[in-house]
Structure formats: structure tokens, C-alpha cells
């Protein structure tokens, strides 16, 4: 048994002013049907004003096994944050 319908990732903009956010996935034969299915599955209660569907196969994800190499170098660079710098109390607006 194989319905052969490809998988799509669904992103919803909750309201204008916000970015699209990943909410889940659907199976559908083509992009138009994927939007229609996403509309039925993920926005039955005014959850959004705009939908994106992206073929799941088109997403390249980072590997959790490499998360140390990717993300840990940021941990020892506190000088990237404004609070690293001490400014005298009498100096304002900085």
C-alpha cells in the first residue's frame, strides 16, 4: 500500500506583522492541494491569515550530532552582548 502523496511542511502567519511559523505537515499530490489540505487541517479556528507549504524533501536540517560544533562556539563570546561592557552610572542614553 502506498498512496504516493508527497509530504509538505506547513507554515502559518497568525496575523499580519508576525512571521510564518511551522505548525505541522500534510500529504498532498500538488502544491495547490497541499495549501487546501493545510487550510483544512491547521486553520479551522482562525489560526492564520496566510499559509506556506514547502516540500519536506526540500528542507536541509542541521545534524544534532554536530550541534556542539555549530552552536557552542557562541557560548564563550560574551562580548557580543551589550551587558558585557561596564559604563559609569552618570553616563546616560547608552
Amino acid at each position: 500500500m502506498n498512496d504516493g502523496l508527497p509530504l509538505w511542511e506547513v507554515f502559518v502567519r497568525a496575523r499580519n506583522g508576525l512571521s510564518h511559523r511551522h505548525v505541522g505537515s500534510v500529504h498532498a499530490a500538488d502544491p495547490k492541494m497541499a495549501v487546501e489540505a493545510a487550510r483544512d487541517v491547521y486553520t479551522r479556528r482562525l489560526e492564520g491569515v496566510s499559509l506556506w507549504v514547502v516540500p519536506s524533501a526540500a528542507i536541509t536540517a542541521s545534524d544534532p550530532g554536530e550541534s556542539a560544533a555549530l552552536f557552542e562556539p557562541a557560548a564563550d563570546k560574551v562580548y557580543r552582548h551589550p551587558t558585557f561592557y561596564v559604563v559609569p552610572d552618570n553616563v546616560k542614553h547608552i
Binding site: 500500500m1 504516493g4 505541522g24 505537515s25 500529504h27 499530490a29 487541517v41 479551522r44
Partner: protein
């Protein structure tokens, strides 16, 4: 949910099981209430248990549309029909969220559907009982969805991220299901003698199967301890059953209906209701597929799947043609 394309996934699992360090790290993360995400390493037993649990849950949502669909064309008003239709559509949506959550574990929706149709996969025993009267639409919403909510609320904090996120959405929608059912029961209970009788009859038939929905008693629930440790399950079957009884009895009293259990009695010491013995033989018979309408349910699923195959085929053929034209 974040779902990986399954056909591209072989090889991802090529991890050595015997790695004790990874096991210990995994157990520590789960114990600290951290979430496990699809591409994280996980023990094979955790993956398998989750696939079984989430797919059973998904199948229950899908099969659960059938008893209610039975009354759709006979709803007594347009209002009731619109409500029932919306509820059934929600159940379908819940099934889809859950299938997608299970797919992140490396099983395809087709494989899960096939397991259901072949009788290898289970679904909630409750849906193997027939819906004999309109009052059953009320009793199902009130009791069956009420029991489901108690089961599902703790799962919003379950350790597997995609499952937990699906449960958050489901729980939000489930509350409407229960309230519309209770409102339906209120209307019948305040109606004619025949309507009151119909409501009482529905409560009589759905009460015990609803209690069974929480699963076998704790001393006979072999996988519970492991599942609790993995945060796949967060309360025991008996704890949830007791909670359900304690909240539901006053709701029945407000309707003026009687719970069909002569042994039901408030226990002031425990501050809970004591209740009569559950017929576990019936439960295990239904689990084995001997429920009154088990065969009808699966037949309806298979007929729907096979009868609609041409729609899927046509949609795929259309898309193939569109792509060929675009390429030309």
C-alpha cells in the same frame, strides 16, 4: 510537526545500539523533562513504543469518526448537524496531526494505515460499540471525549516533542467536543419523558466502556512503569480513571441522570468515589476484536481507502502531467 521525508531516511538509523553513554545521556534528558526531537538519538525501544502508542492514538481518532458519522444525516436540527460535522472534521484533523507525529519516528502513514486494515494495529476499544440513538452523540461527547481529555492533557508534557505539540492542539479542540455533548444531554434531560429515557439509556450503555478507556488496572498494565519513566505516560490508568469518575458524577447529578453503578458511593475519607467492579473480561474481548461492531468499523475504513484510491491516483496523474508540461 517537523517531519522527515521517509524515503530519504534509511541510514539515519545506522547508529550503534550498544552505546551505553548515549543511553545514559538520553535517560538523563528525559528525567530532566527535556524534549526529545526527531533527529535526536533515541533507544530503539523508545522509538517502537512511541510508534505503537501514537499510531494507536491516530487510528482511534480516525475510526472514531465512524460512530458519529452514523448520525450525521439524522441530526435533529441544522445547528446540531453543523456542530456534529465540525466535531467529526476535528477528529480527522487529530488523526492527521498524530500520523504526522508518528512519521517523524521513521514509519510512513501508509504503513500505519495498512497495519490498521490488516488488524495488526489497535485502536480505542470504545469505538467498537454501536451508536444506537441520537443521545449517543451527547454521551460520546460528554463521556468519551471527557475521558480522552483526561488521558490527553498530561501528554502535552510528554517527552517526545512532536507528540507533545500535537497534543497541545488536540486538547484545545477537544474541549468543544465535550461541551457540545454535555449540552446535548442537557437538552434531552430537560425534554420529554421519551427524551429523558433516551439520555439515561445512552449513559447506561456508555458509562462502563468509558471507564475502560483508561486501560487495564495498574497491577495488570505491564508497560506502565517504563512508559512513565520515559514520560510517554504521566499518570497511571487507575489514577486517571478515579479522576474521571470524581469529576463526572456531579455532572450526571446536574443532568438528573443516574450513573449505572449500584456500588458508586462517596468515600469521605479518600475524598473520592468508590465504584463497582469493572468487567475486564468484556474489555479484553473487545481488545481482541470481539466488539459488537469491530468488523464493520474496519470494513468501513478499507472500503473508504479502496473506494477513494482513484481520487489519489487522478491527483497524482494530474500533477505529473503539470510538471511534464512545465518542463517542456
Amino acid at each position: 510537526m517537523y517531519t522527515v521525508e521517509l524515503t530519504k531516511q534509511s541510514g539515519v538509523q545506522a547508529v550503534a545500539e550498544a552505546d551505553a553513554g548515549r543511553h545514559a545521556a538520553f535517560e538523563a534528558r528525559v528525567a530532566a523533562d527535556d524534549f526529545i526531537e526527531p533527529k535526536d538519538w533515541m533507544p530503539e525501544a523508545y522509538r517502537k513504543t512511541l510508534i505503537r502508542q501514537i499510531s494507536q492514538h491516530a487510528h482511534s481518532e480516525i475510526v472514531g469518526m465512524l460512530p458519529e458519522g452514523n448520525w450525521l444525516t439524522r441530526a435533529p436540527s441544522l445547528r446540531r448537524k453543523a456542530i456534529l460535522l465540525a466535531k467529526i472534521q476535528d477528529e480527522c484533523g487529530h488523526g492527521l496531526y498524530l500520523y504526522a507525529a508518528a512519521e517523524t519516528l521513521g514509519v510512513s502513514r501508509d504503513e500505519m494505515t495498512e497495519a490498521l486494515h490488516a488488524g495488526r494495529a489497535k485502536y480505542s476499544t470504545i469505538f467498537n460499540y454501536p451508536t444506537l440513538s441520537w443521545a449517543d452523540m451527547g454521551a460520546i461527547g460528554w463521556l468519551v471525549d471527557g475521558a480522552a481529555i483526561l488521558n490527553q492533557v498530561p501528554l502535552q508534557r510528554t517527552s517526545y516533542g512532536p507528540y507533545a505539540r500535537a497534543m497541545v492542539r488536540i486538547c484545545k479542540e477537544e474541549s468543544f467536543h465535550q461541551r457540545q455533548g454535555y449540552e446535548l444531554m442537557m437538552q434531552l434531560a430537560a425534554g420529554t419523558t421519551a427524551q429523558r429515557k433516551m439520555a439515561q439509556d445512552a449513559l447506561n450503555r456508555w458509562w462502563w466502556p468509558s471507564l475502560m478507556m483508561f486501560g487495564p488496572p495498574d497491577d495488570n498494565s505491564p508497560n506502565s512503569a517504563q512508559s512513565m519513566r520515559w514520560r510517554i505516560k504521566r499518570d497511571t490508568n487507575d489514577e486517571l480513571r478515579q479522576k474521571f469518575i470524581d469529576v463526572t458524577v456531579p455532572q450526571a447529578e446536574a443532568l438528573g441522570l443516574a450513573i449505572p453503578d449500584p456500588d458508586l458511593k462517596w468515600n469521605p475519607e479518600r475524598e473520592s468515589y468508590d465504584y463497582g467492579a469493572i468487567d475486564w473480561e468484556e474489555f479484553y474481548a473487545v481488545v481482541r476484536g470481539e466488539g459488537p461492531v469491530a468488523k464493520d468499523r474496519i470494513k468501513a475504513r478499507i472500503d473508504a481507502w479502496e473506494g477513494q484510491a482513484w481520487v489519489r491516483e487522478a491527483a497524482l496523474a494530474y500533477e505529473a502531467k503539470r510538471q511534464a508540461r512545465a518542463a517542456a
